[in-house]
Homo-oligomer: 360 residues x 2
């Protein structure tokens, strides 16, 4: 039996929706069924520009798309401030939800979304694409290997990009009423997620924002960082910014090994990605070189990571639709942890860089 | 006229002295003339084990070596707590000084050493070898290039290594009365120096230690980190440790470029070293790859970095001896700045991770 093809409705014509629309088309178990914007004109234009199939349903309101009983799942790239409303409405309509990050303005809002999804038996997953790259699984193997990596002791992650003058003035990510979490919600989301990934999703005990965040005139974060500390002594730092050159690093240091990756969010190229690892390296006799040297590992993928994300999400939806499975709670659980740490960073900044205790 | 060959006396038979002795032999303008230990037996054994020339003078006390008028310069790998005494004695005897790092237990002690050197007209340089690798100059070119790198906005540097049980119990770097600054003085010295290097030696305005330092039972730091912030908004973090796998990273992010190096202190191999840089990278149209991708740059060197250090030091000594030049103050100045930031991190830890203002 061939798998059910999950029919997606796209809720909003954000720039990122172009990439995810292509991913829905590429995923073998998903298809673009409908697209909605606040006006029919915009939806029509978006469908044409992105070569959607001619039979794609076009809607001039989000409500209209959500009323369509043929829509299995929605992809929600709307501004963060609108997530709570539209995700809850979608869940109540029985639509499975692929939700852009940050998932909400804070954990309290996200909990409302999760509750609606649980009550309506719909799958919820956030749009953090790199989680689905096969490289990520390979890196996980290394970091989980007690013999080669040991126990994780320290991590540093970074996501920065240099926003243009137009971006820094007009993008929704610099508007307090739209994506009000700014660089922390956008770039910082990935930094925090990758740290939690490295910590196998154990929450840190305390989170302390670092001195020197930058804000725009409306108080939206343009650049910030934080320090995290776990009960077992593990530590991490991250830095995120709209104001510096494109950089996306994970450095994870264990007792026996080190992992480096410099393109963890968007690989340098689509079909192959690499990372570097060193295990039990030490110096040669005169301390003039390393033995062994770090090694580079290449991972190929036929489908890009965003298509693998859609595929994974769609197969969970398929299991719910056709096999009566329960929604997979792993995904909303890690979304929530990411948001929780993000909230703690924001609170620490607001309170003058004090240490914030993180409670589940 | 061939350059004067500077006659070195080695003050103490530390492990690191093996590497630097070889460097003195390799440098074209330096030679091993004498070695002193607290016993003649130890000096004799060290000279034999490291294949010193048979004419090498062997001394059973540091004072005896410093009394030898033929000694031009001393290399001082003694425990940090002994630097102030022996560096001052050496300066008063007119010996030029290549001093291991950390240069002192604190800036006040270092100022006493600098004063003695200035009063006696002797060159002072610390033993931070990577400063002298031609790769470092190449990296500097990139970081100073406003067109390709822009202005530095954020840095992260790391030096960690996994000390053996024997190291963590018996090494001088874990003893409060010997190298009492522990991992901060040893590994942290490099992290701080590389951050200052990236900031073109401008001091940060504030330094804040990060939560989670680890100490041994005697209170010596085994692992710590800090956050630095400059007046212009530039920020940096570092992490140093005796408790995690070998890692030595500089990440420097500018407005237009990014620099990565993963072996900045001891290159993976002796005769060539590389770094990676990206300049004005952005995403392709669908945000599924980078344009351009970062590039790798290889720098070859015939002499290892520690021999280049000895060569540079010796040519400064030569200029003083034969041309009446003044000692080059650039080197003690950057040693002092490194120590000053190091002192601030220590103070911040002692005061419960408060922000410490750094004053020249």
């Amino acid at each position: 039996m061939s798998p059910t093809v999950i029919k997606f409705g796209i809720l909003g014509c954000a720039e990122i929706a172009r990439k995810v629309s292509r991913a829905i088309t590429l995923a073998p178990n998903a298809t673009i069924y409908a697209v909605a914007s606040r006006s029919l004109d915009k939806a029509t234009k978006f469908a044409a520009e992105n070569s959607f199939p001619p039979e794609t349903k076009l809607y001039g309101s989000y409500d209209a798309l959500l009323e369509d009983p043929a829509v299995d799942a929605v992809y929600v790239p709307l501004p963060t401030s609108l997530h709570i409303h539209w995700a809850v409405v979608a869940a109540r309509k029985g639509k499975h939800i692929l939700l852009e990050k940050p998932v909400a303005l804070n954990v309290a809002e996200f909990d409302v979304i999760v509750k609606a999804c649980v009550e309506n038996g719909v799958q919820l997953m956030d749009g953090t694409m790199w989680m689905h790259h096969p490289r990520t699984a390979k890196m996980r193997e290394f970091v989980s290997d007690k013999g080669r990596f040991g126990d994780v002791k320290a991590m540093h992650t970074t996501f920065t990009f240099a926003g243009t003058a137009n971006f820094l003035t007009n993008d929704i990510r610099v508007k307090p009423d739209l994506d009000g979490l700014g660089a922390l919600g956008d770039a910082g989301w990935y930094c925090i997620r990758s740290i939690l990934w490295g910590a196998d999703y154990e929450l840190p005990e305390i989170v302390t924002a670092l001195p020197g965040p930058v804000f725009n005139e409306a108080g939206v974060i343009f650049s910030c960082g934080a320090s995290l500390r776990w009960k077992d002594g593990k530590i991490a730092t991250f830095h995120c910014s709209f104001l510096s050159h494109l950089t996306m690093d994970i450095t994870a240091i264990g007792t026996k090994g080190t992992l480096h990756v410099h393109d963890f969010i968007i690989p340098f190229q689509e079909k192959e990605a690499s990372f570097s690892l060193a295990s039990e390296s030490w110096f040669n006799d005169l301390v003039t070189g390393w033995v062994p040297k770090p090694s580079e590992h290449l991972v190929r993928t036929e489908l890009p990571q965003e298509a693998l994300m859609v595929k994974e999400f769609s197969s969970l939806v398929d299991a719910i639709k056709t096999k009566g499975s329960k929604p997979e709670m792993k995904w909303p659980t890690i979304s929530r942890k990411t948001q929780l740490v993000l909230d703690s960073v924001k609170l620490s900044i607001e309170q003058g860089f004090v240490a914030i205790e993180v409670h589940e």
